[in-house]
Symmetry: D2
Subunit: 258 residues, 4 copies
């Protein structure tokens, strides 16, 4: 097809290939989701519909990008970990972050009505995206640990904060005041002594966030037998310790281990 | 709030600030939209609903980012031109591309039903995004000229291609065969002699694409007077020649012209 | 020639092309030159041999890289301004900075004995290099103005500082103490009233630094006539005001002005 | 000290920090050294003075940068491997490449007369520099293997090529013609049958290049005892196989192994 004399402007685009043999993490984060969740009457401290919708959107991303081996989500964010050796989009950073971010956003709006059947969002929700590289397996594990520790810290805080408001009738600023400077043990104690809540018994999904991984699951065959099929499954488990990685070490194994 | 020992992984994020005093263009492109438009029964060669939905989504982006002075769209793409001096997101490239791309995508799904009232998309549509820098006003104008020349070339081709199929009964491969190696004049001639279509009389929106700009428009006041208000308006005009820029030179004028 | 299976490691090199149509400035800076100049008994406040050697090295760089239109030096630094459109090394940033820096360093050592005939350096001197981009002519001019203002400020300070030490017998810390918080006018006054020095009469080379530009100069021919030849010449003039640029506007004119 | 209004131009400098926890390799390469070696009458196929001068310059670089654990040189190039965790120059890529490149160049000119006592270089020699990152130990080893395989291939070729010219009286183009398409075995055979040279008996320095590493060496004490001191030593050994790494695995061990 004919080309115009303006074609030269393409030369202003820059290369942004990610370093080879490096874990690529794309994280999407809700933009202004504190406000968004209030305006859409999310339940406090956690709204299961909102969290489930996040996981639905993340699943759509994992279905599209086979080179994502693990996704981890909590609150209004989801992280996608591409295999070290992925060649998707020639490892171009902006291609990866914008495609993942766009698909996540699109699926979030698309599947909204499955989780909030009675209403439409008041306006189009937005997520930003970023690409970060981690050279070693330990760095990548530490990234996930960082997000899971963040989940734990925030969820314990929010659970106590909202108990003080919803059950003890404090105002938000009174609750904030009361929690200022407290440690985890203090919040556990408040929950237990004041509200009879044993934080350990809270749901793992809230305490640990959601891990999406691919597992071989048996699928029944017409002849009564079964065959294995790779499927995306949710787990709400600890990723900071070694147990998950002992069991799931194959996520770390590159097909071309250099 | 307490910080974990895993916090160090934040140091792996990289700076990606755009060069100061440079035009920032963010372009979003439909991913697999040839297939998407077929599956959603877009009219050929152009579907006014689809194009209008694109412009609706682009308008949402311009409403959000006041530092976008011009947007230009055609087919399944839209380009957003940020003022040279914008400091939005500290000019971080990935923040700009992912936020624009996410909002555009979100609005596309969100407003879909206003343009395709009888159906829901079959799956979440996706757009990719990229950030490109242009140092001079002429480079930026040439960027827009490049996209508009592309619009012209593609629309003339598609108009002729689909006339051959829909009106002359050719198969797609027969139509492709017939157009191979033809110049613009040839296609104009086919349209006119064979289908009585004077391409010049086709709609400017299809021939030239859609420009979104901010204009001061008079707004009536209760007292019978008017006041000026900045509003996003559509134009379907030539941006390759000088006329548009003579009239709209203020888009080029930086508030801090360095 | 045969290639090894290790060749893949080349893919880890990254693209670093400078944005097109943008001024490329490469600046080299002496590493630890305060110490270097003391150890090599540079005269204070300025050593003409040292400054001349810097300019000799810079001239070698300009002779090699025809696309450098202007170089500007002062103290232990030199800046080289490549034409906006230069394609040297495909505009690769690291190639530009390392080649300029290596040649400058090499020439500095190579020509040392022409300026310091009685001694050899005590150890190999080092310069670092960096590449910075400036999109507009005004930005590039402001860059040069920044370096020249820096030259002025430092030279006035150093001239006064060393007069206090060498002529008034102060210790360095006494001199520093005396100058703390003073303005230019104060230093001019100290120089004049205490040492009879009118700073305005100091050499332009010290006050303004050294500009290297290419000028057409007449060269005598055997037949008694002359022809014009491009030659690198030194100037010690103000680049902050407009006069230099009115006379030398051709430095700003790109051969392919986009 | 007073700042000028032009100071803003500093904001145009960009961040270029290397990804943490990644091997940083800086390689310097002679610019136009084919010509340089001819003009300076280097002996063919190898000039021991030239190679020794390269190693002298590389030693100066290693003495300056304690975080370089290994350097490897052959022909007109030297590679410097910084520890994964180095924080020198905050891991800024251009700082690393220009400082290493400048010091290498400076030392090359500075120590020239120790290796070429009767002459001065005809002009200042130049080296370019580049920074490349390698995430895994294996990648870094493969980088060194790549350079050493290159050394082997080139040295076998050059040894045969120059034997054909210097001993068999061929012209360069005849020698080139004769070697076109030959494999290593063919060249070994030519050397042996035609010139009685067993390539295996050639010097390891020429066949394998030069490795600079830090070793604890015993230093005699006045009291008759010894103490250990870290010293830069040359080795001409194979780095492609495992033996070197078994013995020298501590180079791979980060002090902060993440």
């Amino acid at each position: 097809m004919a080309k115009s004399k303006f074609e030269y402007v393409r030369l202003f685009e820059t290369e942004d290939r990610c370093l080879p043999n490096t874990w690529i993490v794309v994280r999407v984060d809700g933009k202004g989701f504190h406000k968004f969740s209030t305006e859409h009457e999310y339940e406090k401290p956690n709204d299961m519909r909102g969290l489930s919708l996040m996981t639905r959107a993340a699943t759509a991303v994992m279905e599209e990008f086979k080179d994502i081996s693990i996704a981890y989500g909590q609150s209004d964010e989801y992280s996608f970990i591409f295999r070290k050796e992925t060649q998707v989009y020639s490892r171009r950073s902006a291609k990866l972050s914008t495609n993942v971010c766009s698909l996540f956003t699109s699926a979030f709006v698309y599947y909204w009505s499955e989780f909030f059947p009675t209403s439409k969002p008041l306006y189009p929700p937005v997520f930003d995206g970023r690409t970060v590289l981690y050279p070693s397996d330990q760095n990548m594990r530490d990234y996930l640990s960082w997000r899971q520790a963040d989940c734990h810290i925030n969820n314990l805080y929010n659970t106590t904060f909202w108990a003080l408001i919803l059950k003890a009738g404090l105002t938000p600023s009174e609750a904030e005041q009361k929690l200022r400077g407290t440690f985890s043990a203090d919040k556990n104690e408040i929950l237990f002594s004041q509200f009879g809540i044993n934080y350990n018994n809270e749901s793992d999904m809230l305490k640990k966030g959601t891990l999406l991984v691919r597992r071989k699951v048996p699928v029944p065959l017409p002849n009564g037998g079964t065959r294995e099929k790779s499927q995306i499954v949710q787990q709400h488990v600890d990723v900071i310790g070694d147990d998950f990685w002992k069991e799931s070490g194959h996520f770390l194994t590159a097909s071309n281990p250099k």
